[in-house]
């Protein structure tokens, strides 16, 4: 941070402290909502959902070879393969947009061209493990699933459209040596790696298993009643795997990667929850922004509501995962399900600062087209989803 920005920050905090009418009942209520929402996250979501997801993200970052994925983005790579890999590789390669942008520039200028590059640019931040898990846990599995499926489909369609619209100048590509990260020495078989990450995913699923509706019968309550036994059994299995299959150094780098994600994401998420709680409140509890405003702007499933949600998502900057508490607040204040999906699909991949960097790589025309495609498709997807599930 530059010294001037620090000064501006301090002055800003001072002015807010000085002038905000803290004794006003609405402000008091909003402040209380902020901390009640933070407590809800701390009690309901951190231990059973976020912590396991951090360990999974750490394991993927350390043990899944990036080199093997990046091969598919070279200039000579098979096009169908590069589109499919680009659309799902966000789960493996990226948690924040700072790793996505240089990779995107590399794929665009030296590798497979604008189609796979834009597909990757979209899918990278949109479908990482943490984001999908948290969406499903807090906003409901339907929205989580729609987000995951929507992100993959969007990535492919956006990439193909971009390649089609700009097919002429794709020829001006410079070819040259490309460098991908080393594959490293493999200590385990693919099956062992899959079992290991799979066990952690199962732990996540059972630990976060939702309470069934009262009075329901069958498999769901039966699983819920035994979920802690299953979780503990899985933890024991995981402990054996970690002990038997991994060297000390590998265990250390796994913990380091997990810790790195926690350090990066927890403060942002806590801040996001506080802001969302202050502005919007928990579902059913009013806070600073009147609920009728949100309901009239984003309620229902009209074209207008979906378009506003998509456009707002595209312009706003969401720090990793903070889109979830913000959406939770918006949904509680009367936002429709369709606009919620529209915002989720346009949100994480695009933001104003992000557009500036993309603009420096692609130029104004292509960047505008890229953003336009995403806003239009998000609007359509929101309307479709809203029509099916509302």
């Amino acid at each position: 941070m530059k010294e001037r920005n620090k000064l501006l920050l301090i002055v800003g905090v001072f002015i807010a402290a000085y002038y905000v009418p803290w004794t006003h009942p609405v402000i008091r209520q909003s402040g209380l909502e902020a901390f009640l929402m933070l407590q809800e996250y701390a009690r309901e979501h951190v231990l059973t959902c976020l912590i396991p997801a951090f360990f999974i993200a750490g394991a993927i970052a350390v043990f899944v070879s990036q080199g093997s994925v990046l091969k598919y983005f070279g200039a000579q790579a098979n096009k169908i393969l590069s589109y499919s890999v680009a659309s799902v590789s966000g789960t493996i390669l990226a948690v924040c947009s700072c790793t996505v942008l240089p990779l995107f520039a590399g794929i665009y200028t030296r590798g497979a061209g604008i189609g796979p590059a834009t597909a990757f640019l979209y899918s990278g931040p949109a479908i990482n493990v943490l984001a999908i898990t948290l969406t499903a846990k807090i906003l409901g599995w339907q929205l989580g699933l729609a987000r995951a499926v929507g992100a993959v489909v969007f990535a492919i369609v956006t990439g193909l459209l971009m390649a089609l619209i700009f097919r002429r100048d794709d020829a001006a590509r410079t070819t040259g040596q490309i460098y991908v990260p080393d594959e490293g020495v493999k200590e385990r078989t693919l099956l062992q790696d899959a079992l290991y990450i799979g066990t952690m995913v199962l732990i996540l699923i059972f630990a976060a298993f939702a309470k069934p509706a009262p009075g329901s019968t069958g498999l769901w309550p039966a699983i819920f009643a035994t979920k802690w036994y299953i979780t503990v059994a899985l933890l024991v299995v995981l402990a054996f795997m970690v002990k038997a299959w991994f060297t000390g150094d590998e265990r250390k780098s796994w913990i380091e990667a997990t810790w790195g994600f926690m350090k990066q994401i927890f403060p942002l998420l806590a801040g996001g929850v506080l802001v969302a709680g202050f502005m919007l409140g928990r579902p059913g509890h009013p806070a600073l922004i009147p609920e009728q405003w949100i309901a009239s702007l984003l309620g229902g499933n009209s074209f207008q509501a979906n378009f506003i949600a998509a456009l707002a998502g595209a312009l706003m900057y969401f720090a990793t995962l903070t889109e979830v508490p913000i959406l939770q607040g918006l949904l509680g204040s009367g936002m429709g399900q369709g606009p919620a999906l529209a915002l989720l699909l346009a949100g994480p991949a695009l933001s104003l600062p992000n557009m500036l960097v993309i603009g420096s790589v692609l130029g104004l025309k292509k960047t505008a087209t890229f953003c336009g495609i995403i806003v239009v498709m998000s609007t359509i997807a929101g309307m479709l989803y809203g029509a099916c599930f509302a």
Binding site: P102, F104, A105, G106, P181
Partner: protein, 77 residues
């Protein structure tokens, strides 16, 4: 010697810069260390993945924080 650390400013890239600086100071080699943060310039080197280290125009490591011993060995050649 010209050493370039490529990375847009993520924590890993800063870590890499630190390792490189320490390695240069320890080995006593006269070297210019430059941090490259512009994504187009990074892409110009053909690296897929950051942080990356380039020594005298040659890409030495990609997508990871190199160990200090590795950096020292690049400096000796």
């Amino acid at each position: 010697m010209e050493i370039k650390v490529l990375g847009p400013g993520c924590p890993k890239c800063q870590q890499t810069e630190k390792v490189v600086k320490e390695a240069v100071a320890e080995s006593g080699v006269a070297a210019n260390i430059e941090k490259v943060t512009d994504v187009m310039k990074i892409a110009g080197y053909g690296v897929f993945g950051t942080p990356a280290v380039v020594v005298d125009g040659e890409v030495k490591s990609v997508g990871k924080i190199p160990s200090k011993a590795d950096v020292v060995s690049w400096l000796k050649k």
